[in-house]
Symmetry: C3
Subunit: 474 residues, 3 copies
C-alpha cells in the first residue's frame, strides 16, 4: 500500500477528532495499528476472482456496477439503472457510464462511500484530484491502464492489501470449487492467500427464499441424505457444514427477516418441516420454521464448533418494480425495527449458557444497541456483538456503536471489524476507516481520563486484530 | 435586521462548536450564508396579517398566547392556562401575564424557545438584559411601544426579515381570500411580498377530523362536484388543489396519525368512502381511508405537480381535559413510535419510482432517521427528507438529524429548513439557528477532513437556499 | 472524603470534555458542587447495615458478590457463578475469588463499573495502582485491613460520604424494624443519619410476583383489613403507605414490566382483583391489574402526598437456567421496548393535571427520551423525569439523557440524580460521576453560548441538590 504519497484526496488526520490533544492521542494509537494485517471474517467477495486471477475489466465494472451503495444514491437522485447499465452482463459504454457517475460524484459528500472511493483512487491509483465531470476521463484512463497490469490482478492486490485471511459467504449448495482450487494451489506451493468459505444456509432454511423446496431437494443430491424427512434434512445440513469446514470455514451466517428463534419438540419441528417443504405453510409458519432453524444451527454449532452469525432485520427487495426487473441486491433492502430480547429467548434458554458456543449478533436497528444487545451480550456467555453493519459501517455509525455498546458490554464482548463488502478494492479503505474511528474513540476515553493510554494501545490492537481472530477462531 | 449591535443576550459565536479550529471554519461558512434570503416553505403564519397589515396588539398576544412551546412549559411547571389567559379572545391583563411569563423565563434555559425569544428580544427590540421578574416591565414597555410603530407592521417585518417566499398552511375549504388580496395587491403594484397557500386536506380526508362529513359536503358547495360519490369527491379535491395552485401553492401537507398508505381497487375505495362519510366506519377503516387518501394525493401530485409533505406520528390532543376545555393545538400533542418501511410500501410500489413526483417525509420518531428514512430516501427517486420537526427543531435535534441521515441519504436528498411556526417573529431566529447548526456540522466534517472547505461552502448554500427552492419548486 | 491525594487511578479532570475552554468551565462548575451533600432518594442499600453498624466482612462480599454489574460482565466472558461463589451465604475462598476478579479487571475498561470501583479503591482505600493479577493480593490485604477499622463501619462511611439523606426500597410487607431502630436512635440522641424507607408494593400488587396471593393475605395480618375484598385490599395498602410515612417515607416505587395504566370502574376493578387473587387471571388480566394499580397508587399519592416513581420496561430473569438456580437479581434482567404515550393515558386522563401529584418516570428504552418522555413531562404538571437508570447510569448514558431531554422538557422537569445502588461504597463515586457529567454538559452549553456561566452555576446546584430535594419532598 502506498501511503501518504499524496495529500489531495486524503488527509493524514482524516476522521480523527478535531480537538488537538485528543487528535494527538488518536494519531499515536493509529500509528500502532495502521499496518496490522487485515482480518476479514465476513464479506461478499468471490473466491473465483482469486482462483482465476483474471484482471478486473474496467472502472465501471469495478466501482459502479457491483456496489449498491453507489448506484442506490445515483438512482435516488433520478438517474435510471438503465443509464447506468446495471444488470447487464457486459457494459456497452463504460466510459459514458463513468462520466455519468463522475459528474454526480458530489452526491456522495458526507457518505462513507466517498471515503472508500477516495481511498482507492488515491492509494491504489495515485489519483489526487477529486473525481468530477472535469476529471472523469483522466480517472477512467488511469484506472483502466492500471487494471491491465500484473500489479492489479486479484492475487497481487490481496497481497498488497496485507490480507491475512478473507472469508466469503456461500450457499449451502455451492460446490466451493473455487475454494477447493485455492486450497490445492496453496498445498502444492502455489499462491497461499487464505480464503475461507462461510456457510450461509438461507437458501435451504428460509421457506420464503426463491426455490426453497428445490434447494432442499438439491441438498439431498449433494449429501446422499433423504431431505424429504426432518431428520435427513438436518443430517444433510450437518454434512454440508462439515464439507465447508474441510475447506476452512469457521463460521455460519444467517440473514433472516427477524431475530426470532424457537425451540419446538422434535415432533412439532418435523410437522412444520413437512408443511414448509410441501409449500402449505403460511407466513407465520415460515417465520416459525426460520426461528426453529436458528436453534438447530446453534445446536450444530455446539457440535461442530462453527461460529454463528445472525444478521436480522432487513426488509429485502422493498421496491417491487426494481425487484421484478433486476432481482435481488439492487439497493432496495430497507431496515426495519428488530427486537432481540423476546426473539432470542428460546435459543438462549436452550444454549445461552454454553461457553463453547459463539453467536455473533448484528443489527440494522440501532435502538437495540443500548437497550437489548449490549445488556444481552454483557450477560450471556455465548453472545458477542458484531460491528456496525451495512448503512452503519460509517464514521457516525461506528461512533454510535461504541458509545452505546461499550459501557454495558465492554470492549471484549465485541469482535472487531467486518468489511462485509462486494467491492474488493474497498477492503483496505473500510478497515482503515474502522481503525481510525476506533483510534479516535479510544483517544477520547484517554483524553477524558476514562482509561489510560497504555490500555488504549492494548485495546486498539484488540479491536483491530485480536478480538476478530479469537471470536471467529481464525 | 440589526446584527451584532449588542452582545448581552446573543453571542456572535453562539451554537458553533467550541473547538477553536472547527469554530473558525463554522464562522467562515456562516458568514457566507447569514444574509441569504429566507425561504419558508412550510409554516403556520396567517396570510391575513399581511393582507390587513394591522399592528400586533401587545407582547403577550405576540409571544405568549400563540406559542404552545411557551405555554406548555409554563403549564408543566404548575402555571394554569387560566393564569396565562390562554384561549381568551382578548387578554384582560396583558402586563400581569407578561410578568408571570418573565418571572418563569429561567425555565426555558437549554431550550430552543429561549434561543428564539432572545433573538427576537435583542435583534428586533434592542433588548440586551435577560428577561426576568426584574426586567419584565421594561421589556413590556419597550415591546409595546415598538409594536405601535410602522416599522413593526407585518409587511415591514416581512421585508426586514429578508423573506423571499413564505408558505402558509390552509384548509381545503378555505376561501384563501387573504391570499387573493395579497396577489391582487402585488399585481396592481402594491406590496409584493410572496405569500403562498399550502393545501392541507386533513379536514376533508381524515374521517377522525371534527366535522369531517360536513367538510366533505362543503367541498361540494365550493366545487360543484357531487362529493357524495367517490369519484365526485376526488374531482372536488382535485379542483381545490387546482384553485390553490392558481394562488401560488406548490405543495400539499398531510398530518396523519401514522404514515400508513394503501392502494385499494377503485371498488374497494368507493365502498370505504361510503362507510366513512356515512359515519359507519370504525377506527381501522378510518385509518385505511387515510392510507388510501395518501396514495390518491400522490397520484394527483403526479398530475398537477404539487409537492407532497407527510407529517405523521403525532398523537393529537393527548390531554383530554385540556382538549375538552380549550380545543386543539394546546401543547398536548405527543409523538408516538412511527414506522415507514411497511407503511409507505403501497404508495411506493405504485409511485415510488416516479422521478416527477416529490414526497417529503417528516418524523417525530428519531429512531426512523437512520433505520428507515435515510435508507428509503437514499433509494427511491420520489422521496426526500424534511428537516427535524417540532420538538426536534433545535440544536441537538438538528445535530442528530445530520449525523443520522447524511451518511446514508447524503445531503442532496434533504430539503433545507422549515420554520413551521405560528410565531412570526421567530422566523429569522429559527432560520438563524438552522444556518448556524449547519455551518457547525459542515465545519466538523471539514475539520475531520471528511469534505473540503470548498465543498462545505457549496453545501452550506445548498442547505440554506438551493435545496429548499428546488424541492418545493419555488 | 480524601480528595486529590493520589493521581494514579483518578485524574482530577476525568470525565470533563477535552476541549480546553470547555474543560475550564466544567472545572469551575464542578468545584462549586463537588462538596455538596449527597441526597440519595432511591437505592437498594440495607437499613440493617446502619442499624447494626457491623463491619463489612471482606473485599469479595463488599465489591463482587452484591454487584450484578460486576458478576454479569465476568459471567459473559465465561467465568461461572460457581467460581465466583455467587449465591453462597458465606464465601469459602474470598482471596481466590478476589484474584479471579482482579485478573479480569481489564474487562471493565470503558464501563462505569470501572469508574466507580477505581473511585472507591483510591478515595476510600488509598490504592493508586490499577487492580490486576499482579496487584490482587495487595488490594485484598489493604481493603480487608481497613474494613476491620472503626472508620469503615457503615455509619462512619455514611458520615464521611456526606450523605444528607438516603432512601432504601422496601416491600410493603417489611416490618421496617431497622428503620424504626434508626429513628429511635436518632430521637434518643444516638446516631442521626437520615435513612428513609420507600414503599415498593410490587410483591403485593403484581400478580406475577412470586407469592403474590400469600403477600396479599399477609397484608391483611399486618393491617387488620380484609384483603380478600377489593376495598379492604386498597385500605390495607393505604395503611401500609401510612406506616411507611411515619418512618419518613416520601415516595413509592413501581417496577412493572410496562408503563401500562388503566382506569377501570370500581366494579370492573373488584372483579379483576378477585380473578388475580384467586389465580384465575391470565397474563392479559394480570397486566391489566398492574395497570389499574398504578392508577390506584396515583390516587393514593394525591391523598397522602407520597411521590410516585415508575420504573418500567425490564424483562426480569431472562436467563431461565440462572433464575432456576440462583433466583432473582442475578444480572439477567434485560430492557425491552417501552411505550409511554398510550400506556400512561388512562392515569394521565384521570390525574395528569393535578399539580399536587408528582409522578417520576424512568426508562430503559432511551428512544422514549425525545419522542415521548420529554414531550410528556414538558406538558403535564404531575410528570417529572428521573435520571438515566441502570445501564444508562453512565457517562454516555447521562450525555444522551441531557441531550435528548433538555430541549423539550427543560432542566426543571428533571429531578437530579439517583444512585439506585446495592453497593454502598459506590454511592460517592456515582454521585461524583453525575456531578462531573452535569458540569461538562452545562460547560458545553456555556462554551456554545447557549446559556450564561452564571446560569450554569445556578443549574449545576439545582441538578445536584435543589431539584432532588424538591421533587422527592426531602
Amino acid at each position: 500500500m502506498e501511503r501518504g504519497t499524496a495529500v489531495a484526496l486524503l488527509h493524514e488526520d482524516r476522521l480523527f477528532p478535531a480537538e488537538e490533544g485528543t487528535r494527538a492521542i488518536a494519531r499515536r494509537l493509529y500509528d500502532g495499528i495502521r499496518s496490522l494485517p487485515i482480518v476479514s471474517p465476513h464479506g461478499h467477495t468471490q473466491a473465483g476472482w482469486f482462483a482465476r486471477n483474471q484482471p478486473f475489466p474496467d472502472p465501471v465494472a469495478l466501482f459502479v456496477q457491483p456496489d449498491h451503495y453507489v448506484f442506490r444514491m445515483l438512482y435516488s437522485q433520478g438517474i435510471s439503472l438503465e443509464e447506468l447499465e446495471i444488470g447487464r452482463p457486459r457494459i456497452a459504454e463504460p466510459r459514458r457510464v463513468w462520466r455519468l457517475f463522475a459528474s454526480h460524484y458530489y452526491l456522495f459528500r458526507g457518505t462513507p462511500t466517498r471515503l472508500w472511493l477516495d481511498f482507492a483512487f488515491q492509494e491504489l491509483f495515485g489519483l489526487t484530484e477529486r473525481l468530477s465531470e472535469a476529471t472523469a476521463d483522466g480517472y477512467y484512463d488511469t484506472i483502466a491502464a492500471k487494471l491491465a497490469t500484473a500489479e492489479f490482478l486479484p492475487r497481487a492486490l490481496f497481497d498488497r492489501f496485507g490480507i491475512e485471511v478473507l472469508a466469503t459467504t456461500d450457499s449451502p449448495l455451492d460446490s466451493l470449487a473455487d475454494h477447493a482450487l485455492l486450497r490445492e494451489s496453496a498445498c502444492s506451493g502455489g499462491w497461499a492467500g487464505r480464503i475461507l468459505p462461510t456457510f450461509r444456509p438461507d437458501p435451504a432454511v428460509d421457506p420464503a427464499f426463491d426455490g426453497f423446496a428445490a434447494n432442499v431437494t438439491a441438498l439431498s443430491a449433494l449429501t446422499g441424505e433423504d431431505t424429504a424427512t426432518w431428520k435427513g434434512y438436518l443430517r444433510a445440513l450437518a454434512a454440508r457444514r462439515h464439507y465447508f469446514k474441510t475447506l476452512g470455514a469457521t463460521a455460519t451466517d444467517h440473514g433472516h427477516p427477524t431475530a426470532q428463534t424457537a425451540d419446538l419438540s422434535e415432533l412439532e419441528a418435523a410437522q412444520l418441516f413437512e408443511a414448509v417443504v410441501n409449500g402449505t405453510a403460511g407466513a407465520a409458519q415460515q417465520e416459525l420454521f426460520r426461528a426453529q432453524m436458528l436453534t438447530e444451527m446453534a445446536r450444530m454449532s455446539l457440535e461442530d464448533g462453527l461460529v454463528m452469525q445472525i444478521h436480522p432485520g432487513s426488509v429485502r427487495n422493498h421496491n417491487a418494480q426494481i425487484f421484478a426487473r433486476y432481482g435481488r441486491d439492487m439497493g432496495a433492502d430497507i431496515p426495519a425495527p428488530t427486537g432481540y430480547v423476546e426473539a432470542l429467548r428460546p435459543l438462549l434458554n436452550r444454549f445461552g449458557n454454553e461457553r463453547a458456543l459463539t453467536v455473533i449478533l448484528f443489527t440494522l436497528d440501532e435502538t437495540a444497541y443500548s437497550r437489548e444487545l449490549a445488556p444481552l451480550a454483557g450477560h450471556y456467555p455465548c453472545l458477542k456483538l458484531g460491528p456496525p453493519w451495512w448503512f452503519f459501517d460509517s464514521p457516525e455509525g461506528m461512533t454510535r456503536f461504541r458509545e452505546q455498546v461499550t459501557e454495558t458490554a465492554g470492549f471484549y464482548n465485541t469482535v472487531g471489524f467486518n468489511d462485509d463488502t462486494r467491492a474488493f478494492l474497498s477492503i483496505p479503505a473500510r478497515h482503515d476507516v474502522a481503525r481510525r474511528m476506533d483510534a479516535g474513540f479510544l483517544a477520547r476515553l484517554v483524553a477524558e481520563h476514562r482509561i489510560d493510554e497504555g490500555e488504549a494501545v492494548e485495546l486498539s490492537r484488540e479491536l483491530t486484530y485480536g478480538l476478530v481472530r479469537e471470536a471467529y477462531k481464525l
